[in-house]
Symmetry: C2
Subunit: 283 residues, 2 copies
């Protein structure tokens, strides 16, 4: 068994849950130290729900701002939050802007020179479950899992779910970057990490993926604030839902009147999402 | 009508509430700019519940971390969060440590030279309600109000409630600094703001106040984490409850097993506290 040298950074209690932050050495991210946080309910052997955060976030934003512990407790599902990029990779331009590089890993495996550490797809899909397994042992069902996320992390959740058939029981998203090959955030990161060939970008684009993979889930849940400043230019959820309709993938897109892109919006609907995944995980 | 030159700094939506942050010019704080945040439910004319934060906090900590909007909505009570000290006063040693000066106003009216801006007692009791009245007009019952807080703010809530009879319908606290004349945090701030005469300190000490004022509330609600690192040396809630017993003031002290001093503890019990105050405010 590989040791990830996982260390507890902090531990607290909320409702009947422990909330613990860990660091570990990540082989997938080229030996860099990574952080993750886990909300673990007190029940026996809960399934696992992965949360992927958006641009600029760490493993802590959801933990501090989403108010999720109550619903972790009620629904008996552990939530695991990884970071959004490698830290300290020293990659070109990684610290120049908030929407590329550090805090903006985009859940892809970078192929461009200098970005060898940027393997967040493989990190989340392959290494993270093993880290969680090493940390929790038999205290959670690590292989019975689902995934959700926000913005870049909503994109990541949809992208990982469609590109890894059978890995996740269910997928949902808040305000996902739904068609990143067409939006400024996506183009900037995909070009930087993957080069100029748009066909390579499509392997991580939820809208493109559902068109090629077809229907894979009973239903997909998406919440989107109508007052979200990024809705038109960056997020484009209708592109994803139209692609779903074409291939017969059921999707429940809730346009939530007056909500913006913040964690206050996530806090409002997090109960619904956790309950949605619990139904799939306990089925 | 005095104008406080209130300006909206940000506005968002959570559940059916608006969450708005304002700045205004504070006469009480010597003309400095102060900030406050308001969680306003969509119902007609809610009563007002003041939240006082602890050391190092601003008006934003409770807003971001407590997960309170859901219970504001359910209980139909607006929550108003002021800052914890004046900002930019230029007072002696105000920026040297986290437990004195900026972020540590202790809800007193300072009497010492150089601390003329440190009038957080009068600010919260007298000016803040007028600022809220100017901002909300008839959208809230500003004079039908209660108060609660955490740590230094729990002390502030108890202190203000007992030193201003009739002003607040009910009072509760999370992990209050219950007998500040006896603890390091209290001694440091009281000496700095009020001088060496301990009798002056007692005018702001919850335990001393309840002994002199007697029973003033039907019951007082206190939650305290048993794993709180500050419990023994700084908080001493049993001193307050013993004083309450002496004068016949009913107090419900809940020692919550395993919880620490953080907002995760507050998040766990905030529903209970908001509901407690709503009962008093709608009585």
């Amino acid at each position: 068994m590989t040791s990830f040298e996982a260390k507890v950074l902090s531990c607290t209690k909320a409702f009947d849950c422990s909330i613990t932050r860990y660091s570990h050495v990540s082989k997938t991210l080229g030996g860099l130290t990574a952080t993750l946080s886990i909300i673990l309910p007190s029940c026996e052997n809960p399934p696992v729900l992965y949360w992927l955060s958006g641009l600029t976030c760490t493993d802590q934003n959801f933990i501090v701002k989403a108010g999720a512990a109550k619903y972790v407790s009620i629904n008996k599902v552990a939530i695991v939050c990884p970071d959004t990029s490698p830290r300290g990779a020293g990659a070109p331009r990684e610290a120049e802007s908030w929407d590329f590089g550090t805090g903006a890993g985009f859940y892809v495996n970078a192929t461009q020179e200098g970005y060898e550490n940027y393997k967040m797809h493989d990190y989340v899909v392959s290494e993270l479950p093993n880290v969680v397994k090493e940390i929790l042992g038999d205290r959670a069902q690590v292989t019975n899992c689902s995934i959700f996320g926000h913005s870049m992390g909503g994109m990541g959740a949809l992208s990982l779910a469609f590109s890894n058939p059978g890995l996740y029981k269910s997928v949902s998203a808040f305000s996902p970057i739904s068609n990143p090959v067409l939006c400024p955030w996506g183009k900037k990161c995909f070009r930087g990490y993957l080069g100029d060939d748009v066909e390579k970008w499509k392997l991580y684009d939820p809208t493109e993926l559902v068109l090629t993979k077809g229907s894979m889930f009973e239903t997909i849940l998406i919440d989107q604030g109508s007052a979200d400043e990024f809705l038109e230019v960056q997020l484009m959820p209708q592109n994803f839902t139209e692609a779903c309709q074409k291939v017969g993938q059921k999707v429940d897109l809730n346009m939530a009147e007056g909500y913006d892109h913040s964690y206050f919006f996530i806090q409002t609907f997090v109960e619904k999402h956790i309950s949605f995944h619990a139904q799939a995980l306990y089925n």
